[in-house]
Symmetry: D2
Subunit: 340 residues, 4 copies
């Protein structure tokens, strides 16, 4: 039997559009899924950090995956963020997402409490032993307990279901250590870069792809960077990487992931307000960011004539989101009458 195929390419940790009541805006999310796939991303990664997974309830997290899987309809593979309150709940989510048909789940290291490396191992080992679906380790030391080299190595050795690591530290040296330790024993294991400013160098030193917030806003550019780098067209790739660096730095001017939400709005999506209340000062930062992103995107020739006027609207004579909104209103009206 041949070794299973590695997870490769650019996966998008997508923003979740919210409606005016702060609820998941399903119609907009569906439009957004289509748009990302149409713009060339290799896969989707709902319930990641960009998706503000911690700010949704367990029920909402499941609903988000359901919507994304349903709308994707098999066109691209899906990595489903599956971290819940504890191992039991997380395994419950794994089972649910497995049945929905996701390619794999991604599970962030335990957070709030900062665990010792050996207990991070114990956590993932317990999951690796019982999961019915492939697991991507998610290492993001600025937010969660770090996943260290011995942990990655042991999990790769002992758990066939652990098939990848997504690293958002941006630390190339550590990524080289991971790759050198794991690739010889697990040729099917995938290494994904979650820090957009170093995507090109990470691909060059051996990564298989990335989970990149930028790909949810400028999928054209992230995908192009990936393709040019893999084609060995280093000079062109470098030029794109510099653009992406600038764009990503802008996104991070505001508390993550607010900047991504604003930027996506510029591409024409009605993303709504995030669930974290923002100070007046922060709203001013977002206004500045809005302008800077607008300048950057238009100077790069992106179809963003005006906020709210580009994006999906540009693709058709009518606004498909209007259809979604109409449908929502109908459903709401029916619900109000107790019909559904």
């Amino acid at each position: 039997m041949s070794a299973p195929e590695r997870i490769r390419g650019i996966f998008v940790p997508n923003v979740v559009p919210l409606d005016q009541q702060g609820a998941i805006h399903e119609a907009e999310l569906r439009l957004y899924v289509d748009w990302m796939i149409d713009h060339g991303v290799h896969g989707l990664y709902p319930n990641g950090s960009t998706s503000e997974f911690t700010r949704f309830t367990p029920q909402e997290r499941r609903r988000i995956i359901e919507i994304v899987v349903d709308q994707t309809a098999g066109r691209v593979p899906i990595l489903a963020g599956a971290a819940e309150a504890n191992v039991r709940e997380t395994l419950g989510a794994c089972e649910y997402y497995a049945k929905l048909g996701v390619r794999a789940v991604a599970i962030v290291s335990p957070f709030y409490y900062r665990l010792s490396p050996d207990n991070v191992y114990a956590y993932f080992k317990e999951i690796g032993r019982h999961t019915p679906v492939d697991v991507t380790l998610y290492n993001i030391p600025m937010f969660a307990s770090p996943i260290d080299l011995p942990t990655v190595q042991r999990l790769a050795e002992e758990c066939p279901r652990v098939v990848a690591i997504k690293d958002s530290s941006g630390d190339l040296t550590q990524m080289m250590r991971f790759i050198e330790a794991v690739r010889p024993i697990r040729p099917d294991f995938s290494f994904l870069c979650g820090w957009d400013t170093v995507l090109m160098p990470m691909l060059i030193i051996g990564c298989d792809g990335g989970t990149n917030a930028s790909a949810g806003v400028v999928p054209e550019i992230t995908r192009k960077l990936y393709d040019l780098t893999l084609a060995g067209r280093i000079d062109e790739a470098r030029a794109i990487q510099y653009k992406l660096r600038k764009f990503f730095d802008l996104l991070l001017m505001a508390d993550f992931p607010e900047g991504v939400r604003v930027a996506l709005g510029l591409r024409g999506f009605r993303t709504g307000a995030g669930r974290q209340p923002l100070s007046d000062k922060h709203k001013q930062t977002l206004d500045q960011l809005h302008k800077a992103l607008w300048d950057l995107l238009t100077s790069e020739g992106y179809p963003c004539e005006a906020p709210g006027s580009c994006g999906p609207e540009a693709r058709a004579g009518f606004d498909p989101r209007e259809v979604g909104r109409l449908a929502e209103e109908v459903v709401a009206a029916l619900k109000a009458r107790g019909v559904v």
Copy 2:
């Protein structure tokens, strides 16, 4: 109208005993509540960090408060940890706990994402505006976004419902800044120390009490430290503080709050295993800790003749936990037959 009374004294962030299936061990928790109150603590603080609040589901968190409130039956005030996934859910918890009759809720600063100070302010301001119950700010910078001085000051000025801050940084200088900024404008505002090794100096520089994990294991000693310090018996208080320092350092040898769970077991409670899987290496650490705690407690004359044999058992001719367990078995049997 006279100013409302400040929250004062030693509140316990209690461990939640778990049964063999990892579920809340209600009978043991009830026994534990009684024991803490009998041993002199001024209040209880369920759903704090020691309670592993992040490892329970939203439903379980509510259940824990219900049990503690019901068992306490008004004997001491209760601070209920109320942090949920977002402001809306958190306010929902506030309303629920308000109806149960808690003295106040305690809300940790947003975690996972590290927010700018002004957005931490915005978060608590939104809560302070809508909460139906008094709120204690919970500052624990090693786990969550720090709550800085301007934030505390503004919230104290603008939100009458924000009535206290619990600080687990152990930073005396910062506590002095908080007190100096807030006390003149809010004489009803309470300052609580959440870092047991500096409880005595914190009380001396003006704190009103503490929320102390040690008080869940050795309530006698934490209470005594509080009383001696307030009585100005500095030499005796210092001696106790040194003992508590040693005890707390031991508790933190293992990943927090595993050590507290082990130590509570030594006082005779069936705390069960925590929900975080532990490595073999960590289990060895806990074994060493077990012995060290045993030596410390027995050398101090605590009623801990043997693990499992002290604590509530010592208080009566029969083991009240047996009664609880019998009752549980009966209920389980009835449930199995569909009776309840």
Copy 3:
């Protein structure tokens, strides 16, 4: 033989006044030494961090100690900062200062390189083995390699010449660990607090004194805090500690130790400009600091009618500094003519 006396009391890490050429202003330094002693400090601590020891040459550092020792003339004990480029040079400084008659030297942990704790131990052990004078360990983790608990404990056990630790971390818990480990085996070992905002609580948990930058500017207040605390007059001491906290926070608004230099100028000393070039922005910070310190000092009733007009001038009918300056000018004129 009775055990030697512990080092006790408030030692001042003094600013080194500089003249217009940036050289050591000897006359002003001598005046300053007198003023500090007259205002009640227990000892002096030249070549500490406040003295900007790293910004002087090895020759200048020796000269500073010579001046301070000579001017002090045995009135108070002196801790001489003796850290040099390596062990050999440091031991050379120890010998030199021993001959001058200092009470002890203070040696900061190796800096620039961050050493492992065991090599910090090896460094001090080598010094402890060969020093001809008592040594104070200087722990300041924000600037130099930390000195950890096992290191302090081993050095206390093995090196009779190591007689004290000065800790500028402000960490009370760590200080309690130090004291608990060392005091039983070395009753002559002294614990000094180098973080002024927590001096009172540090004294209460067992410290023997402090090395406090504030004592170089407001020796009256630091000394008073020490006396009140030792006398058990806790309420009065607390009030002073709050004032000192505010003062120290102000001093640290600018890059350390620039604020101390400015503040000392307000007490009437011609401190000159420091050796670190300052940005325009930082000069504005110092201007604001100047005003804030002025307000604080005058509101507390310190003799600071106008910058340059208080301090030593207030104590005599003529300005003794003028004498010093005249002498300097004479010497300079003689030098210019090749006479000396």
Copy 4:
């Protein structure tokens, strides 16, 4: 006039061999200089961090540069580390090294004290205004005050004599920010990578070279990595980068730069013991490191048959170091008799 040439290539921050008395081993240093040049490095960088510059006296630092310049005799350019106690002393060193004919000096950001970015700027601005020789900024945030983006940008704009930055943070994103900000206005400004594990990606994103400790031990490999990367032979370069990553990680197992000293001994040089005393535990680490480095070097085919038997010895029928040592002994004998 055409723009001046950028500093390019691999510069070696060389270890300083010490004799049995701990003094500079001049003969061995001269041999080492020859060996490095013969093995293809583009330039030398004495008095860097690997040279333990802080552990020498000001006089010794000057002597080291004299020896290296003299022995190099113009064969390769020299970057001379010139940081001294303060601006005046540093400018004195700049003048001295300028007269010796170095290509440029390298000046580390102020250390011990952690300065605000604007004061780091003020420091370098003062130097840039008065230096008679080109200056390389040296950014090493783990040891010294960080040099931030606005500082680099302003210095590049305002100071023609500031011609390069050496960055040892290993942070690719920051390096891209530096390059993007400075290259358009200063095409002569050079960017050097001081973190060997990411040398290849740094070159790919636009760096001009590196200052690499590894090049002092395995100059063949560091040089080869540079050449392959510049030639666009990415696959081969990647393989070398992985080897260098492993080697560099080994070097850092011990407190920096002890590992480099040990490794250089393996190449046949009598490096002597460093000036930092080492604990027994650390000596064991160095023994393990010795073996691991030996295995790595021999498995890669380096001429290291036995410690002490390779290196310069392999290049000639007689040991040129013996000549040096003989000469030293003669001089010592003459000195003892007062002849020289």
